[in-house]
Amino acid sequence: MNNLSDMIWIEWRKAMRSRMPLWTALGSLFMPLGIAFLIFVARNSDISQKLGLISAKANLIAYAATDWPAYLGLTGVIIAAAGFLLFVIIISWVFGREFSDGTVKDLLAVPVPRSSILAAKFLVVAVWAAGLSLIILIAGLITGAVMQLPGGSIGVALQGSVIVAITGFLVIVVVLPFAFFASVGRGYLLPIGVAFLTLIMTNILALAGWGEYFPWAVPGLLAQGKSALTLVSYLIVFLTGMAGVIATYLWWKYADQNR
């Protein structure tokens, strides 16, 4: 693909010069640290009694993460839900900002194929999201160790980390269609609105038992170690990601750009 390295340089520079990497890194750190805090609260009855509602939540989390395997599973679920929202914000920013900032017109009548421009954007989103997944995982491992969770071993940590990593990868794939929503909506509102709707649908469909056929539910089910997932589930995830990339490309190539 022509000029891809130049396009990656452009996208990377734009991302790194903004405040988004800092905010998203802080957002991703907040998740494992938040869980660690809730487990800490649940373990200390003095603090727990003073905190009321937080205490109830803390007990719930502590119940869900009694040992290392459960704790790492919970980390995967966090990536599947909160990580999903964080990645949607990233992809909405990378694609939607060109429209909301009016810079898209400078990318349209240039001798670089739009496929290269879009590929660079998708790659930067993927690397960025992978980096955040890694931050969540490492922070989770450190806080788990600090809390001295039972049932830990290198094997358990490795197996849990692999599931968390695969969950992160699947979330990145199902987030790709949000580039299309950011482009069609010419900004951030549509993709973020659709993301919340998707989360609601994910919960409903997972409860109804159809989660394995709903691509956005698959990463969460994997993190929870649900056995209902089949090859078809992963194929649906892959096709959803591909459909998002193709729809985004076709829209950038053929839609009227009048802003």
Partner: protein, 309 residues
């Protein structure tokens, strides 16, 4: 004659709104062509169609002998453009924004960035974040991006927007120099006739999506209404003398006498002789050309009561 821009029946409809209708333009290489119209006349839509950003509903456009199609890569390596308000990446510096533009035009040498910064008077702001630039300097940055890769054709939408008078003169000189020395073609839109008349060789006037008139700059001079205004100590007597001599003279509200016929406008000396001989010599004699703005408004039918009566 090679054409830098050619459109045939180019049109764009948005549901019931006809933004541009049956636009047929020919812009020769090396020419400065001004596309004049009021806000919403269809100038920007036309420029976006020329740049392949909008698909025409009817007709076609050719730019540098290449048929424009949505999403194509040609002929953009030789085209520089500025559409509407210039936008840039606010978090990047001026230099970085230009580096982005350079990488979007493969083959443009590294030195081009420094060169265009100097040429556009942006050296002082080279390391400043683009988001902190004034409107005028943002416009300069937009023009710098358009010129960076030494294009053969420039499509500029209101290039003087936001510039101070010195900046306007500077950009005018720069565009003239580019056409004179490098044979660059400039297609620029504007809503200010006085501004483009100093620069363009040809002017196309668009109104409500339709091309009303195309004229050379000398035709513009011919088409503008002219009148002879004169004053005398005894205005009534002077006017009677002129009418008696077959001149269609009229006394204006401000006490001057107006003559709009070609004979009077072209030979004010004859009118002077006539009045002197009649004993009512003029105290002031002046041939006045219709202001460019009034001419423009008259063309687009929005002159109201402003025109010379």
């Amino acid at each position: 004659m090679n054409l830098a821009i050619e459109t045939e029946n180019l049109g764009k409809c948005y549901r019931d709104v006809r933004a541009v209708e049956r636009l047929s333009l020919r812009v020769a290489e090396g020419e400065i062509y001004a596309f004049l119209g009021l806000n919403g006349a269809g100038k920007t839509t036309t420029i976006r169609m020329l740049l392949g950003m909008i698909k025409p509903t009817t007709g076609y456009a050719q730019v540098l002998q290449t048929r424009v199609r949505l999403g194509n890569r040609e002929p953009w390596e030789s085209v520089g453009y500025l559409v509407e308000t210039p936008h840039c990446y606010a978090e990047l510096t001026v230099t970085e924004n230009l580096e982005v533009a350079r990488r979007l035009h493969p083959g443009t040498p590294h030195e081009a960035v420094g060169r265009i910064i100097e040429r556009m008077g942006l050296a002082e702001y080279a390391d400043r974040r683009a988001g902190n630039l004034s409107q005028g300097n943002t416009q300069r940055l937009g023009l710098a991006k358009a010129l960076l890769h030494s294009p053969k054709l420039l499509l500029l939408d209101e290039p003087a927007n936001g510039l101070d008078p010195a900046g306007i003169v500077e950009i005018r000189e720069l565009l003239l120099e580019l056409t004179r020395e490098q044979g660059v073609t400039v297609f620029m839109s504007s809503h200010i006739l006085a501004e483009v008349s100093r620069l363009a060789q040809r002017i196309g006037i668009i109104h409500k999506g339709r091309l009303l008139q195309e004229l050379n700059i000398d035709e513009l001079e011919q088409n503008r209404k002219k009148r002879l205004l004169l004053r005398a100590r005894d205005v009534v007597s002077a006017c009677q003398v002129l009418i008696a001599a077959g001149q269609p003279a009229e006394i204006q509200k401000d006490g001057s006498i107006e003559l709009k016929n070609a004979a009077a406008v072209e030979h004010p000396d004859d009118i002077n002789c006539l009045l002197v001989k009649a004993g009512t010599p003029p105290t002031q004699l002046m041939v006045e050309e219709e202001e460019l703005e009034l001419y423009f408004l008259r063309l687009v039918g929005m002159d109201g009561g402003l025109q010379h009566e």
